[in-house]
Amino acid sequence: MSEIEFLEWVRGPGFEIATVIFIAGVIIRLLEIVILGRKENLAEAKGSEMSSGLRTIVTRTIPDKGAFKRSTFTIVAGYIFHIGLFVTIFLFAPHILLFKDVIGLSWPALPTPIVDAFAVVTIITLLAILIHRMRDNVLRFLSTKEDYLVWMLTILPLITGYMAFHRIGMSAPTLLAIHILTVELLLVAFPFTKFMHAFTIVLARWYNGAISGYRGVES
């Protein structure tokens, strides 16, 4: 397979396969969770589930003081790389073109040097996070193969994207093809791994808030 054929495959059939697995997997998993529901609570309701649930989705975004003190690195690094991912994925002009082509919506892009800087910071942060995970005894003990797989699938598109943009090491078509392929691997793994938190975080926070709301306590 020549490099252009490789690029053609990842832009064509490869991307289609990945998209189908991603969309089907995410929707089926979410529906399963929602339809299964929770056990009926026989106690009398002391407050609203809905308002407390919705409020908690937002309030949990800010860590409480105690948690922040205990795991400062995890929270700060976590924020940095999530914001970095958001900027590199959603505010890079060629990526916006992809979204426009698939979902029909587009929005303004950031200048490429800024996105580039975000990518570098994100890559460094993810490396620091891995080192932290491996050096901390408790974290290392709690880590599963999936955790390392997810870390790998997150950093690979960033590194390959950076290499493709700066044309490091290989020819441009090969670099671009490898970059797209790593994103496809991420999409395929997404519904079956903890990547799902990108969607389930909303449900989880709502349930947490709703439970407290029902009991009439602060969440």
């Binding site: 252009i4 054929e5 064509g12 529906l31 082509d101």
Partner: protein, 367 residues
């Protein structure tokens, strides 16, 4: 016959002088060639000397499944350029579009040239070779495959000109009805210089010829056989519109404000980032401009399989297929499947609840 042999005795220097090319413009050409090919300026006298003394090399040009665009590109200069003269000064012994002879006389010229210069002539090929059925393209009743194999046998080197000869080009595009293949697919035991492009830039071929005449060897090639000096950098890397790409300023349509201001054509499908060629630096029509300068995105014509690359006007970051439709169908299917699975789970749950037996004190006391 005698005329032709005496013509062949002439060196390139003689030929250029007889056409009224001054020493000054000849050296200018040598210097330009050296700088273009990134050769040290110290080599300019050597290039001049080598070209001066070079006997007109015999060149056999075979045209297979092609559109003659390559020949048009390489021979049609608007003004007489020195590159053109160099090109005129090779002994083009066979080229069925350009030669005056026809029929048996033409084929005889090819056979004589092959015999007289066996092991020394340059073979230039444009067009792909049909392997599906030899009858798709024949010359004087000889299949393209047979003619290529016969001519390649005695060639010093082969120059594949145009994307059809180098990588299959248009004839090899899906569904490849003629079973077209490239020269490199068939010949493995000769040095092959690939000069792709649809068509390739004229100055590239004179550059390759100059290199061959000066050093007696083929220039450094990249991993798909292209001379590094011309195909070493991508269009994108040398594009004068690159600053707009970096700033994120793009033309969205062919007639919007961005297009008028000369912003980057990435969104209009420009293949510059994945295309290696010299268009952005040497340009076309005596250095006038190149497609991007004229406001059209690069279509990637010097890359293999560029016809099948998902459409000339689709940006590189876009999928080549209509994913939107697939996504909608998938989502619809997944909702149905998710509801069905959820329903099954509920059934299992209620079934389990119904089958659940309560243990009473009596049950426990039985033991």
């Amino acid at each position: 016959m005698t005329d032709r042999s005496s013509d062949k005795e002439k060196t390139l220097g003689d030929a250029l002088r007889s056409q009224g090319v001054s020493r000054r413009s000849f050296l200018k050409f040598c210097a330009a060639t050296a700088s273009m090919m990134a050769i040290s300026p110290a080599m300019i006298p050597k290039i001049a000397e080598a070209l001066e003394k070079a006997r007109k090399p015999s060149v056999i040009w075979l045209s297979f499944q092609e559109c003659t665009g390559c020949t048009e590109s390489l021979t049609r200069a608007h003004a007489t350029t020195i590159e053109n003269l160099i090109f005129d000064s090779i002994s083009l012994d066979y080229h069925h579009t350009l030669q005056a002879a026809a029929g048996h006389a033409a084929e005889e010229a090819r056979e004589v040239a092959m015999k007289e210069n066996h092991g020394e002539y340059l073979l230039v090929v444009d067009g792909s070779i049909p392997m599906g059925d030899p009858g798709y393209s024949t010359i004087a009743g000889i299949s393209n495959y047979d003619m290529l194999m016969e001519a390649a046998e005695g060639a010093a080197a082969i120059i594949s000109v145009g994307t059809c000869a180098t990588y299959g080009g248009l004839p090899m595009a899906k569904p490849n009805p003629t079973g077209a293949v490239s020269v490199g697919d068939l010949i493995k035991d000769k040095p092959i210089i690939n000069v792709p492009g649809c068509p390739p830039i004229p100055v590239v071929i004179t550059g390759v010829l100059t290199h061959f005449l000066t050093f007696g060897a083929i220039p450094e090639l990249d991993h798909i056989g292209r001379p590094m000096v011309f195909y070493g950098q991508s269009i994108h890397d040398r594009c004068y519109r690159r600053p707009f790409y970096d700033k994120g300023l793009f033309a969205e349509t062919f007639d919007d404000e961005g297009a008028q201001k000369g912003w980057c054509l990435y969104k209009l499908g420009c293949k510059g980032p994945t295309t290696y060629n010299a268009c952005a630096t040497t340009k076309w029509n005596n250095g006038t401009s190149f497609p991007i300068e004229a406001g059209h995105p690069c279509i990637g014509c010097s890359e293999p399989r560029f016809w099948d690359g998902g459409g000339f006007y689709k940006a590189l970051s876009m999928p080549t297929q209509d994913i939107g439709k697939t996504a909608v169908y998938t989502a619809a299917g997944a909702v149905a499947a998710g509801v069905a699975i959820g329903g099954l789970n509920k059934l299992t749950k209620s079934g389990a609840a119904a089958a659940h037996d309560k243990t009473t004190i009596d049950d426990l006391e039985k033991e």
